[in-house]
Symmetry: C3
Protein backbone atom coordinates (compact mmCIF):
# COMPACT_ATOMS: atom_id res chain seq x y z
CA UNK A 1 0.00 0.00 0.00
CA UNK A 2 1.38 3.40 -0.90
CA UNK A 3 1.75 6.26 1.57
CA UNK A 4 -1.20 7.98 -0.04
CA UNK A 5 -3.46 4.99 0.49
CA UNK A 6 -2.36 4.78 4.14
CA UNK A 7 -3.16 8.44 4.59
CA UNK A 8 -6.58 8.04 2.97
CA UNK A 9 -7.32 5.14 5.32
CA UNK A 10 -6.34 7.28 8.33
CA UNK A 11 -8.69 9.99 7.10
CA UNK A 12 -11.47 7.44 6.59
CA UNK A 13 -11.67 8.20 2.87
CA UNK A 14 -12.49 5.32 0.55
CA UNK A 15 -11.86 6.16 -3.08
CA UNK A 16 -14.77 5.25 -5.36
CA UNK A 17 -14.44 4.01 -8.90
CA UNK A 18 -13.88 7.13 -11.00
CA UNK A 19 -17.27 8.46 -12.16
CA UNK A 20 -18.15 7.97 -15.82
CA UNK A 21 -17.80 11.07 -17.99
CA UNK A 22 -21.12 12.78 -18.86
CA UNK A 23 -20.09 13.13 -22.51
CA UNK A 24 -17.69 12.14 -25.27
CA UNK A 25 -14.50 12.63 -23.29
CA UNK A 26 -12.19 10.76 -20.93
CA UNK A 27 -11.60 11.18 -17.18
CA UNK A 28 -8.01 12.37 -17.61
CA UNK A 29 -5.15 12.91 -20.05
CA UNK A 30 -1.46 12.82 -19.23
CA UNK A 31 0.72 15.08 -21.38
CA UNK A 32 4.38 15.21 -20.37
CA UNK A 33 4.48 15.66 -16.60
CA UNK A 34 1.00 17.12 -16.39
CA UNK A 35 -2.15 15.17 -15.64
CA UNK A 36 -5.31 17.01 -16.64
CA UNK A 37 -8.36 15.69 -14.79
CA UNK A 38 -11.80 16.37 -16.25
CA UNK A 39 -14.16 18.52 -14.19
CA UNK A 40 -15.53 16.53 -11.25
CA UNK A 41 -18.96 16.85 -9.67
CA UNK A 42 -20.01 15.87 -6.11
CA UNK A 43 -21.28 12.46 -7.20
CA UNK A 44 -21.60 9.66 -4.66
CA UNK A 45 -22.84 6.28 -5.90
CA UNK A 46 -23.95 7.97 -9.08
CA UNK A 47 -25.98 10.77 -7.48
CA UNK A 48 -25.15 14.38 -6.71
CA UNK A 49 -25.04 14.81 -2.93
CA UNK A 50 -26.57 18.31 -3.32
CA UNK A 51 -28.27 20.13 -6.16
CA UNK A 52 -28.89 23.76 -6.96
CA UNK A 53 -27.27 27.12 -6.41
CA UNK A 54 -25.08 27.95 -3.48
CA UNK A 55 -26.54 30.80 -1.47
CA UNK A 56 -30.10 29.74 -2.29
CA UNK A 57 -30.75 25.95 -2.51
CA UNK A 58 -27.43 24.86 -1.03
CA UNK A 59 -25.72 26.33 2.04
CA UNK A 60 -22.04 27.29 2.03
CA UNK A 61 -21.35 24.40 4.45
CA UNK A 62 -23.05 21.90 2.14
CA UNK A 63 -21.16 23.37 -0.80
CA UNK A 64 -17.87 22.96 1.08
CA UNK A 65 -18.75 19.26 1.48
CA UNK A 66 -19.66 19.10 -2.20
CA UNK A 67 -16.21 20.47 -3.06
CA UNK A 68 -14.62 17.78 -0.90
CA UNK A 69 -16.62 14.98 -2.54
CA UNK A 70 -15.75 16.35 -6.00
CA UNK A 71 -12.09 16.25 -4.94
CA UNK A 72 -12.39 12.66 -3.76
CA UNK A 73 -13.67 11.82 -7.24
CA UNK A 74 -10.75 13.71 -8.79
CA UNK A 75 -8.41 11.76 -6.52
CA UNK A 76 -9.95 8.48 -7.67
CA UNK A 77 -9.15 9.49 -11.26
CA UNK A 78 -5.61 10.51 -10.29
CA UNK A 79 -5.08 7.19 -8.49
CA UNK A 80 -6.15 5.25 -11.55
CA UNK A 81 -3.90 7.26 -13.88
CA UNK A 82 -0.78 7.11 -11.71
CA UNK A 83 -0.61 3.41 -10.83
CA UNK A 84 -2.28 3.89 -7.47
CA UNK A 85 -0.33 7.13 -6.84
CA UNK A 86 3.09 5.53 -7.42
CA UNK A 87 3.78 8.15 -10.14
CA UNK A 88 1.94 11.00 -8.46
CA UNK A 89 4.10 14.00 -7.58
CA UNK A 90 1.76 16.76 -6.51
CA UNK A 91 -1.31 18.85 -7.13
CA UNK A 92 -0.48 21.82 -9.38
CA UNK A 93 -3.69 23.80 -9.83
CA UNK A 94 -7.36 23.55 -9.10
CA UNK A 95 -10.19 25.55 -10.56
CA UNK A 96 -13.36 25.64 -8.50
CA UNK A 97 -16.60 26.56 -10.25
CA UNK A 98 -19.40 27.40 -7.80
CA UNK A 99 -22.98 27.63 -9.08
CA UNK A 100 -23.86 30.89 -7.38
CA UNK A 101 -27.15 32.49 -6.47
CA UNK A 102 -27.41 36.22 -7.12
CA UNK A 103 -25.28 38.01 -4.52
CA UNK A 104 -23.37 34.97 -3.26
CA UNK A 105 -19.71 35.95 -3.18
CA UNK A 106 -18.13 33.45 -0.76
CA UNK A 107 -16.75 31.16 -3.47
CA UNK A 108 -13.33 31.07 -1.77
CA UNK A 109 -14.77 29.41 1.33
CA UNK A 110 -16.60 26.82 -0.76
CA UNK A 111 -13.56 25.87 -2.80
CA UNK A 112 -11.59 25.46 0.43
CA UNK A 113 -13.48 22.15 0.66
CA UNK A 114 -11.22 21.00 -2.15
CA UNK A 115 -8.05 22.82 -1.09
CA UNK A 116 -8.22 21.66 2.53
CA UNK A 117 -8.80 18.08 1.41
CA UNK A 118 -5.77 17.96 -0.87
CA UNK A 119 -3.59 19.45 1.86
CA UNK A 120 -4.90 16.93 4.42
CA UNK A 121 -4.11 14.02 2.10
CA UNK A 122 -0.82 15.12 0.56
CA UNK A 123 0.60 17.76 2.89
CA UNK A 124 2.99 20.07 1.02
CA UNK A 125 2.48 18.04 -2.20
CA UNK A 126 -1.18 18.99 -1.96
CA UNK A 127 -0.58 22.75 -2.04
CA UNK A 128 -1.70 24.26 -5.31
CA UNK A 129 -2.41 27.38 -7.29
CA UNK A 130 -6.12 28.09 -7.42
CA UNK A 131 -8.89 29.88 -9.23
CA UNK A 132 -12.39 30.17 -7.73
CA UNK A 133 -15.30 31.66 -9.66
CA UNK A 134 -19.07 31.82 -9.38
CA UNK A 135 -20.87 30.51 -12.44
CA UNK A 136 -24.50 30.74 -13.55
CA UNK A 137 -25.25 27.03 -13.90
CA UNK A 138 -23.42 23.71 -13.79
CA UNK A 139 -24.08 20.34 -15.46
CA UNK A 140 -26.96 18.38 -13.92
CA UNK A 141 -27.66 21.28 -11.54
CA UNK A 142 -24.50 20.54 -9.54
CA UNK A 143 -23.58 23.22 -6.99
CA UNK A 144 -19.84 22.75 -7.54
CA UNK A 145 -17.39 21.51 -10.17
CA UNK A 146 -13.69 20.98 -9.45
CA UNK A 147 -10.99 20.78 -12.10
CA UNK A 148 -7.53 19.53 -11.15
CA UNK A 149 -4.12 19.60 -12.81
CA UNK A 150 -1.54 17.35 -11.15
CA UNK A 151 2.14 16.64 -11.75
CA UNK A 152 3.27 13.08 -12.41
CA UNK A 153 6.57 11.31 -12.97
CA UNK A 154 7.35 10.49 -16.57
CA UNK B 1 -1.94 16.42 -47.90
CA UNK B 2 -1.76 15.16 -44.33
CA UNK B 3 -4.02 12.46 -42.88
CA UNK B 4 -5.88 15.12 -40.95
CA UNK B 5 -6.64 17.09 -44.08
CA UNK B 6 -7.89 13.91 -45.82
CA UNK B 7 -10.12 13.20 -42.87
CA UNK B 8 -11.50 16.73 -42.85
CA UNK B 9 -12.26 16.42 -46.56
CA UNK B 10 -14.12 13.14 -45.95
CA UNK B 11 -16.16 14.87 -43.25
CA UNK B 12 -16.86 17.80 -45.55
CA UNK B 13 -15.17 20.25 -43.21
CA UNK B 14 -13.31 23.14 -44.80
CA UNK B 15 -11.07 24.95 -42.33
CA UNK B 16 -11.50 28.73 -42.41
CA UNK B 17 -8.76 31.25 -41.86
CA UNK B 18 -8.34 31.45 -38.09
CA UNK B 19 -10.64 34.21 -36.77
CA UNK B 20 -8.98 37.42 -35.64
CA UNK B 21 -8.68 37.84 -31.86
CA UNK B 22 -11.21 40.24 -30.33
CA UNK B 23 -8.51 41.90 -28.23
CA UNK B 24 -4.81 42.41 -27.59
CA UNK B 25 -3.85 38.75 -27.69
CA UNK B 26 -2.83 36.07 -30.17
CA UNK B 27 -4.73 33.02 -31.44
CA UNK B 28 -2.37 30.53 -29.80
CA UNK B 29 0.90 30.08 -27.91
CA UNK B 30 3.13 27.00 -27.95
CA UNK B 31 5.05 26.38 -24.74
CA UNK B 32 7.05 23.16 -24.66
CA UNK B 33 4.78 20.41 -25.98
CA UNK B 34 1.60 22.26 -25.18
CA UNK B 35 -0.36 24.43 -27.59
CA UNK B 36 -2.78 26.79 -25.85
CA UNK B 37 -5.51 27.98 -28.19
CA UNK B 38 -7.41 31.15 -27.31
CA UNK B 39 -11.14 30.79 -26.60
CA UNK B 40 -13.04 30.27 -29.85
CA UNK B 41 -16.54 31.46 -30.68
CA UNK B 42 -18.97 30.04 -33.28
CA UNK B 43 -17.93 32.54 -35.93
CA UNK B 44 -18.54 31.78 -39.60
CA UNK B 45 -17.41 34.37 -42.16
CA UNK B 46 -17.03 36.85 -39.34
CA UNK B 47 -20.50 36.40 -37.81
CA UNK B 48 -21.74 34.35 -34.88
CA UNK B 49 -24.01 31.60 -36.21
CA UNK B 50 -26.23 31.99 -33.12
CA UNK B 51 -26.52 34.61 -30.40
CA UNK B 52 -27.94 34.61 -26.89
CA UNK B 53 -28.38 32.25 -24.00
CA UNK B 54 -28.81 28.54 -24.37
CA UNK B 55 -32.13 27.41 -22.93
CA UNK B 56 -33.81 30.70 -23.88
CA UNK B 57 -32.68 32.28 -27.18
CA UNK B 58 -30.72 29.31 -28.48
CA UNK B 59 -31.84 25.66 -28.40
CA UNK B 60 -29.55 22.90 -27.13
CA UNK B 61 -29.33 21.54 -30.70
CA UNK B 62 -28.25 24.92 -32.05
CA UNK B 63 -25.76 25.25 -29.19
CA UNK B 64 -24.33 21.81 -30.06
CA UNK B 65 -23.75 23.13 -33.61
CA UNK B 66 -22.22 26.28 -32.17
CA UNK B 67 -19.78 24.14 -30.18
CA UNK B 68 -18.84 22.30 -33.37
CA UNK B 69 -18.25 25.52 -35.30
CA UNK B 70 -16.16 26.90 -32.42
CA UNK B 71 -14.09 23.71 -32.60
CA UNK B 72 -13.61 24.06 -36.34
CA UNK B 73 -12.18 27.51 -35.64
CA UNK B 74 -9.92 26.07 -32.93
CA UNK B 75 -8.80 23.44 -35.43
CA UNK B 76 -7.97 26.14 -37.96
CA UNK B 77 -5.72 27.76 -35.37
CA UNK B 78 -4.12 24.41 -34.51
CA UNK B 79 -3.49 23.69 -38.20
CA UNK B 80 -1.76 27.02 -38.64
CA UNK B 81 0.43 26.54 -35.56
CA UNK B 82 1.48 22.95 -36.35
CA UNK B 83 2.56 23.22 -39.97
CA UNK B 84 -0.77 21.98 -41.29
CA UNK B 85 -1.00 19.36 -38.49
CA UNK B 86 2.42 17.82 -39.24
CA UNK B 87 3.48 18.50 -35.62
CA UNK B 88 0.06 17.86 -34.07
CA UNK B 89 -0.05 14.99 -31.59
CA UNK B 90 -3.43 15.14 -29.92
CA UNK B 91 -6.08 17.11 -28.12
CA UNK B 92 -5.34 17.30 -24.38
CA UNK B 93 -8.15 19.27 -22.78
CA UNK B 94 -11.12 21.35 -23.74
CA UNK B 95 -13.09 23.76 -21.61
CA UNK B 96 -16.59 24.51 -22.83
CA UNK B 97 -18.28 27.67 -21.58
CA UNK B 98 -22.02 27.71 -22.26
CA UNK B 99 -23.95 30.99 -21.86
CA UNK B 100 -26.83 29.56 -19.86
CA UNK B 101 -30.36 30.78 -19.22
CA UNK B 102 -31.59 30.42 -15.65
CA UNK B 103 -32.25 26.72 -15.03
CA UNK B 104 -30.44 25.36 -18.09
CA UNK B 105 -28.21 22.54 -16.85
CA UNK B 106 -27.52 20.46 -19.98
CA UNK B 107 -24.07 21.97 -20.62
CA UNK B 108 -22.56 18.50 -21.08
CA UNK B 109 -24.74 17.81 -24.14
CA UNK B 110 -23.86 21.17 -25.68
CA UNK B 111 -20.11 20.72 -25.25
CA UNK B 112 -20.40 17.28 -26.87
CA UNK B 113 -20.62 19.30 -30.09
CA UNK B 114 -16.91 19.95 -29.58
CA UNK B 115 -15.95 16.58 -28.11
CA UNK B 116 -17.71 14.55 -30.81
CA UNK B 117 -16.10 16.66 -33.52
CA UNK B 118 -12.55 16.16 -32.25
CA UNK B 119 -13.14 12.41 -31.93
CA UNK B 120 -14.57 12.24 -35.48
CA UNK B 121 -11.54 14.05 -36.90
CA UNK B 122 -8.71 12.54 -34.87
CA UNK B 123 -10.04 9.28 -33.44
CA UNK B 124 -8.15 8.34 -30.29
CA UNK B 125 -5.88 11.37 -30.66
CA UNK B 126 -9.02 13.48 -30.33
CA UNK B 127 -10.02 12.14 -26.92
CA UNK B 128 -9.52 14.69 -24.21
CA UNK B 129 -10.09 15.72 -20.63
CA UNK B 130 -12.96 18.15 -20.35
CA UNK B 131 -14.60 20.82 -18.26
CA UNK B 132 -18.10 22.13 -19.07
CA UNK B 133 -19.66 25.03 -17.20
CA UNK B 134 -22.59 27.39 -17.59
CA UNK B 135 -21.61 31.04 -17.56
CA UNK B 136 -23.67 34.22 -17.25
CA UNK B 137 -22.57 35.98 -20.45
CA UNK B 138 -20.03 35.50 -23.23
CA UNK B 139 -18.25 37.99 -25.51
CA UNK B 140 -20.44 39.44 -28.28
CA UNK B 141 -23.44 37.53 -26.87
CA UNK B 142 -22.04 34.22 -28.08
CA UNK B 143 -23.88 31.14 -26.79
CA UNK B 144 -20.70 29.06 -26.54
CA UNK B 145 -16.94 29.50 -26.16
CA UNK B 146 -14.49 26.62 -26.55
CA UNK B 147 -10.92 26.62 -25.22
CA UNK B 148 -8.51 23.92 -26.37
CA UNK B 149 -5.12 22.70 -25.17
CA UNK B 150 -3.35 20.39 -27.62
CA UNK B 151 -0.08 18.46 -27.56
CA UNK B 152 2.48 19.07 -30.28
CA UNK B 153 5.86 17.66 -31.23
CA UNK B 154 8.82 19.79 -30.25
CA UNK C 1 17.90 45.86 -11.78
CA UNK C 2 16.47 43.64 -14.49
CA UNK C 3 15.05 44.93 -17.78
CA UNK C 4 11.56 44.17 -16.52
CA UNK C 5 12.05 46.32 -13.45
CA UNK C 6 13.40 49.17 -15.59
CA UNK C 7 10.36 48.91 -17.81
CA UNK C 8 7.99 48.91 -14.84
CA UNK C 9 9.70 52.02 -13.52
CA UNK C 10 9.26 53.74 -16.90
CA UNK C 11 5.58 52.84 -16.83
CA UNK C 12 5.27 54.13 -13.26
CA UNK C 13 4.21 50.73 -11.98
CA UNK C 14 5.33 49.75 -8.51
CA UNK C 15 4.82 46.08 -7.78
CA UNK C 16 3.09 45.44 -4.46
CA UNK C 17 3.77 42.51 -2.19
CA UNK C 18 1.82 39.62 -3.69
CA UNK C 19 -1.66 39.56 -2.08
CA UNK C 20 -2.36 36.78 0.42
CA UNK C 21 -4.46 33.92 -0.90
CA UNK C 22 -8.12 33.98 0.25
CA UNK C 23 -8.01 30.27 1.09
CA UNK C 24 -5.91 27.16 1.62
CA UNK C 25 -3.75 27.54 -1.46
CA UNK C 26 -0.55 29.24 -2.59
CA UNK C 27 -0.01 32.22 -4.92
CA UNK C 28 1.71 30.12 -7.60
CA UNK C 29 3.13 26.73 -8.50
CA UNK C 30 5.94 26.05 -10.96
CA UNK C 31 5.73 22.70 -12.76
CA UNK C 32 8.36 22.14 -15.41
CA UNK C 33 8.57 25.31 -17.48
CA UNK C 34 5.09 26.46 -16.57
CA UNK C 35 4.22 28.85 -13.78
CA UNK C 36 0.58 28.72 -12.75
CA UNK C 37 -0.51 31.87 -10.94
CA UNK C 38 -3.61 31.74 -8.74
CA UNK C 39 -6.55 33.90 -9.78
CA UNK C 40 -5.85 37.56 -8.99
CA UNK C 41 -8.35 40.20 -7.95
CA UNK C 42 -8.04 44.00 -8.29
CA UNK C 43 -6.74 44.43 -4.75
CA UNK C 44 -4.77 47.55 -3.81
CA UNK C 45 -3.47 47.83 -0.25
CA UNK C 46 -5.79 44.99 0.70
CA UNK C 47 -8.99 46.44 -0.76
CA UNK C 48 -10.79 45.85 -4.04
CA UNK C 49 -10.58 49.04 -6.13
CA UNK C 50 -14.12 48.38 -7.43
CA UNK C 51 -16.91 46.03 -6.38
CA UNK C 52 -19.95 44.60 -8.14
CA UNK C 53 -21.02 43.58 -11.60
CA UNK C 54 -19.68 45.12 -14.75
CA UNK C 55 -22.46 46.71 -16.77
CA UNK C 56 -24.39 47.63 -13.62
CA UNK C 57 -22.29 48.69 -10.59
CA UNK C 58 -18.99 49.00 -12.42
CA UNK C 59 -18.43 50.67 -15.80
CA UNK C 60 -16.44 48.97 -18.57
CA UNK C 61 -13.71 51.60 -18.11
CA UNK C 62 -13.46 50.89 -14.39
CA UNK C 63 -13.44 47.15 -15.12
CA UNK C 64 -10.58 47.66 -17.61
CA UNK C 65 -8.63 49.33 -14.77
CA UNK C 66 -9.58 46.47 -12.46
CA UNK C 67 -8.14 44.01 -14.99
CA UNK C 68 -4.90 46.03 -15.07
CA UNK C 69 -4.60 46.09 -11.27
CA UNK C 70 -5.30 42.33 -11.14
CA UNK C 71 -2.47 41.88 -13.65
CA UNK C 72 -0.11 43.98 -11.58
CA UNK C 73 -0.84 41.63 -8.69
CA UNK C 74 -0.21 38.62 -10.95
CA UNK C 75 3.06 40.24 -12.00
CA UNK C 76 4.07 40.68 -8.37
CA UNK C 77 3.57 36.94 -7.88
CA UNK C 78 5.52 36.14 -11.05
CA UNK C 79 8.39 38.40 -9.94
CA UNK C 80 8.60 36.65 -6.60
CA UNK C 81 8.59 33.18 -8.20
CA UNK C 82 11.17 33.94 -10.89
CA UNK C 83 13.93 35.60 -8.90
CA UNK C 84 12.77 39.10 -9.76
CA UNK C 85 12.03 38.05 -13.37
CA UNK C 86 15.51 36.62 -14.00
CA UNK C 87 13.92 33.27 -14.91
CA UNK C 88 10.82 34.72 -16.57
CA UNK C 89 10.42 33.86 -20.25
CA UNK C 90 6.95 35.00 -21.25
CA UNK C 91 3.25 35.09 -20.61
CA UNK C 92 1.56 31.99 -22.09
CA UNK C 93 -2.16 32.31 -21.39
CA UNK C 94 -4.54 34.45 -19.44
CA UNK C 95 -8.12 33.72 -18.49
CA UNK C 96 -10.23 36.74 -17.66
CA UNK C 97 -13.38 36.22 -15.62
CA UNK C 98 -15.70 39.24 -15.69
CA UNK C 99 -18.58 39.42 -13.20
CA UNK C 100 -21.26 40.42 -15.67
CA UNK C 101 -24.63 42.08 -15.28
CA UNK C 102 -27.43 40.60 -17.37
CA UNK C 103 -26.83 41.61 -20.98
CA UNK C 104 -23.24 42.81 -20.59
CA UNK C 105 -21.26 41.19 -23.40
CA UNK C 106 -18.15 43.38 -23.73
CA UNK C 107 -15.89 41.05 -21.73
CA UNK C 108 -13.19 41.25 -24.43
CA UNK C 109 -12.74 44.98 -23.88
CA UNK C 110 -12.51 44.54 -20.12
CA UNK C 111 -9.89 41.80 -20.30
CA UNK C 112 -7.83 44.01 -22.63
CA UNK C 113 -6.92 45.81 -19.41
CA UNK C 114 -4.79 42.74 -18.65
CA UNK C 115 -3.64 41.99 -22.19
CA UNK C 116 -2.58 45.56 -22.94
CA UNK C 117 -0.66 45.73 -19.68
CA UNK C 118 1.36 42.57 -20.31
CA UNK C 119 2.20 43.75 -23.82
CA UNK C 120 3.27 47.19 -22.51
CA UNK C 121 5.58 45.61 -19.94
CA UNK C 122 7.03 42.68 -21.87
CA UNK C 123 6.49 43.49 -25.57
CA UNK C 124 6.40 40.30 -27.63
CA UNK C 125 7.08 38.18 -24.52
CA UNK C 126 3.83 39.56 -23.16
CA UNK C 127 1.66 38.28 -26.02
CA UNK C 128 -0.54 35.42 -24.90
CA UNK C 129 -3.42 33.12 -25.70
CA UNK C 130 -6.59 34.25 -23.99
CA UNK C 131 -9.99 33.25 -22.77
CA UNK C 132 -12.56 35.85 -21.64
CA UNK C 133 -15.87 34.89 -20.10
CA UNK C 134 -18.69 36.54 -18.16
CA UNK C 135 -19.40 34.88 -14.84
CA UNK C 136 -22.29 35.26 -12.39
CA UNK C 137 -20.33 36.21 -9.28
CA UNK C 138 -16.72 36.49 -8.14
CA UNK C 139 -15.08 36.15 -4.72
CA UNK C 140 -15.61 39.14 -2.42
CA UNK C 141 -17.85 40.74 -5.09
CA UNK C 142 -14.86 41.49 -7.30
CA UNK C 143 -15.75 42.68 -10.82
CA UNK C 144 -12.79 40.87 -12.41
CA UNK C 145 -10.48 37.92 -11.77
CA UNK C 146 -7.38 37.27 -13.87
CA UNK C 147 -5.59 33.92 -14.09
CA UNK C 148 -2.14 33.76 -15.68
CA UNK C 149 0.08 30.94 -16.93
CA UNK C 150 3.67 32.00 -17.66
CA UNK C 151 6.73 30.24 -19.02
CA UNK C 152 9.91 30.17 -16.96
CA UNK C 153 13.44 28.87 -17.38
CA UNK C 154 14.19 25.61 -15.61
Amino acid sequence: MTEVNKRLQELGVKLPDPPDPLGAYVPAIVSGNLLFVSGQLPLKDGNLIFKGKVGADVTPEEAYQAATVSSINALAVIGKETGDFSKFKRIVKITGYVSSAQGFTAQAGVVNGASDFFFEVFGEAGRHARVAVGVAELPADSPVEIEVIAEVEL
